[in-house]
Symmetry: C2
Subunit: 431 residues, 2 copies
């Protein structure tokens, strides 16, 4: 039997095989932040022995291949034709930029049992590397694990994935009001598997499955491409703002308090985002510097006019309650607002959150790893590709799990202080 999930050719075969928000953010960067030098870096959170499993030559071949890819005319037509969030959301100059874009070089080095991988170039081109690199590393790793198995054991991996998917769908079918999307591109088992999961889920639960973050799969299966923005935008904006403020102070100017710098950077991003995309993409990711900071400092019009917020770290129930309080503070009817949960979801958690918040606020779910990599591997596998430096300055993300904040320690402390977190707050981390 020929395994229908077997790979033909390279892992990334189209530049659309990435998350939709890379393009919404990509245009945003292209419009407002062109030329900022940004470094993305691989962070191997769970210390997976990447280099023992993944052959360096193979990894380079996959990364090199992505650099040879270009957007085809049809792919650009698809982006141009995207109208679900507003007419002509992508401008011709941005599409022309994409047409000519070549991904920048990468820096790869084996260090012990893992790899150091870094991408450095102007933000408007380097940003795209994140998803391709993550998907490549994850898939090469899983393929290496498969190669250690017999053919039957390999078939049984897919069999496990299929029976688990069926069980999930059977459960979700019992909650017709619960809607969700695929957010699992970066952590998928493989492209073929995500393709299967997305096609199958869309067919089985057409009214509950809202779409996929993967643009290629959205195009292939006629689904809604899903996504708005990510941490990298406020992270870069904040780093730029701190640099500018520090320079003012260094030149003898008064400068602003750090808190005002951070609030200003965050609001600048939110304002420009709404200016560019309007209500269509008005879902705010609140946890870059902690959601407490966001809810305390975000302008009132955000609570009024934005469609909702996205929860991506910390305790999701506490988060939801805080969001409700935030809206109530301004007398906003929360039943017209939305929370997009997207952190470590599984069916049980989605159903739980759905029932907790039903009739209080709308919820929907961006389902990731548990949707696209649930085939029986129980190893912890947590890698990310994150903004590390902005024009040479460390970038910082605090998130709602402060214990996991990653950056230069001094810089983290500065952001924490600016965002108003005391050290006692800082230990609130996921159990």
């Amino acid at each position: 039997m020929r395994n229908p999930f077997r790979r033909d050719g390279r892992i990334i075969q189209s530049l659309l095989d990435t998350d939709f928000y890379k393009f919404t953010m990509g245009q945003f960067i292209f419009r407002y932040y062109r030329g900022v030098n940004v470094t993305f870096r691989l962070i191997n959170r769970s210390g997976v022995p990447l280099a023992r499993m993944i052959n360096e030559k193979e990894l380079r071949a996959e990364l090199d291949h992505v650099r040879t890819l270009r957007f085809t005319n049809s792919e650009l037509h698809y982006l141009r034709g995207t109208n679900e969030y507003g007419e002509r959301m992508f401008s011709e100059d941005y599409l022309e930029f994409l047409k000519n874009m070549e991904l920048p070089e990468y820096k790869l080095e084996r260090v012990g049992d893992t790899y150091e991988l870094e991408f450095n170039s102007p933000w408007e081109t380097v940003t795209y590397w994140e998803i391709y690199a993550l998907a490549i590393i994850k898939q090469l790793y899983r393929e290496a694990q498969l190669r250690q198995m017999s053919l039957l054991e390999q078939d049984a991996v897919y069999a496990t994935g299929i029976t688990r998917l069926l069980n999930k769908i059977k459960i979700l079918r019992q909650y017709p009001g619960l809607t969700f999307s695929d957010f699992g591109t970066r952590r998928r088992f493989s492209f073929a598997w995500q393709d299967y999961v997305v096609e199958t889920t869309a067919r089985e639960l057409p009214k509950q499955f809202r779409g996929t973050s993967n643009v290629y799969l959205a195009m292939k299966h006629g689904l809604l491409p899903m996504g708005t923005n990510a941490h990298e935008v406020p992270m870069v904006a904040a780093a730029l703002a701190f640099t500018a403020n520090d320079e003012i102070i260094a030149r003898g100017g008064a400068g602003l308090f750090d808190t005002d710098v951070l609030v200003g950077a965050q609001n600048e991003v939110l304002d420009r985002w709404y200016e560019l995309y309007g209500e269509g993409l008005s879902i705010a990711l609140t946890d870059t510097f902690g959601s407490d900071f966001f809810f305390r400092t975000a302008p009132e019009y955000m609570a009024r006019y934005w469609k909702g917020t996205r929860q991506d770290s910390g305790d999701p129930i506490k988060y939801g309650l805080k969001a409700l309080d935030w809206y109530k503070e301004y007398g906003v009817d929360t039943r017209e607002k939305l929370i997009v949960f997207s952190d470590q979801l599984n069916v049980e958690l989605m159903v739980r959150l759905y029932h907790i918040f039903i009739n209080r606020i709308n919820t929907t779910y961006g389902w990731g790893t548990d949707l696209t990599d649930d085939l029986g591997f129980s190893d912890p596998f947590s890698i990310v590709v994150k903004v590390a430096e902005v024009n040479g300055r460390s970038a910082v993300k605090l998130s709602d799990n402060l214990a996991k904040a990653m950056s230069d320690p001094a810089e983290i402390e500065r952001y924490k202080a600016a965002a108003g977190y005391t050290s006692t707050l800082a230990v609130e981390c996921k159990s």
Copy 2:
């Protein structure tokens, strides 16, 4: 995703897609019993609503297609080259006969929710219908069940099959002395599935998997084709003997006692079998008229020179103990003898029997339905195609489960009496 188990074309695509023993018996019939008129009939033991699930036109198309098939030169070469049971076991005149053979017509009629299906012609050609007809009906039925499922549920059926197969193989690997064969052609889920199971099992357990009864798959995967003979041979021989004896008596002759007729018919078959195939295929199927009758009446040289016996009904442990007693009676070293268990086996039962009889007598296992149709369907599905009439006379099989004996009731009673079963014995049936 394209289902790799999906059918291309008709179910039976080669006349070798049948059990090996159809050819060993086929040559035997061709040599000794040509021209005997035999009727094979479908018996739907479990009352499955065949006609509600299987479209009559589709069934006819499959059956008609088998009648268009001929043995190819390569297939005849394969049979000619079979030397595992003795050199040139198939004679040129038999192979020539196969080359020109066309399967006889069938009689199909829908009656209520099921079908009546009958094949009537000289034994030497009608015998082949059994396996093709059973495999066709089973597969069409399973395909009808699959069509009532969503595509994901269909995928999950195969996924269940794969994970179960892996679990079985993991268990069997712990008992390296336990050997077995695939006997599941007639009751397989589908051709593609049996193909997968056989290829996979052969690769995973190369030293324990002895071969397959399916000649096409044995050829395809370079495995040992397995099989010797079946109930139809003594059944037809006995019916012929009773007819001849009745005629002698009708013409005023003395005739023989029924017991002597039955013993004579059974021994005639055994003698001729050994004459044709020698030691290579000397495995006796003992339960046609009950194994008690066999062990009581079989000639001593069978215990001495035949390799062993095959158990196909009744309690397998009791059977094994009876076989041990039988050999001991003649002072035969049972550790040089073999029992082939082939009735309703599963892994647990095989392991149990293996441990019970280890160091007492060799055992091996002809694994059927549980190997080739274990994909999560729990419906009882028991259909057989059996010899019903021989030159117009009812044929009888008693087996070691007398409650299940099938034939004309008067004829059954006659055979039971002839074989020495009292009515108290007759109720010994499987719990």
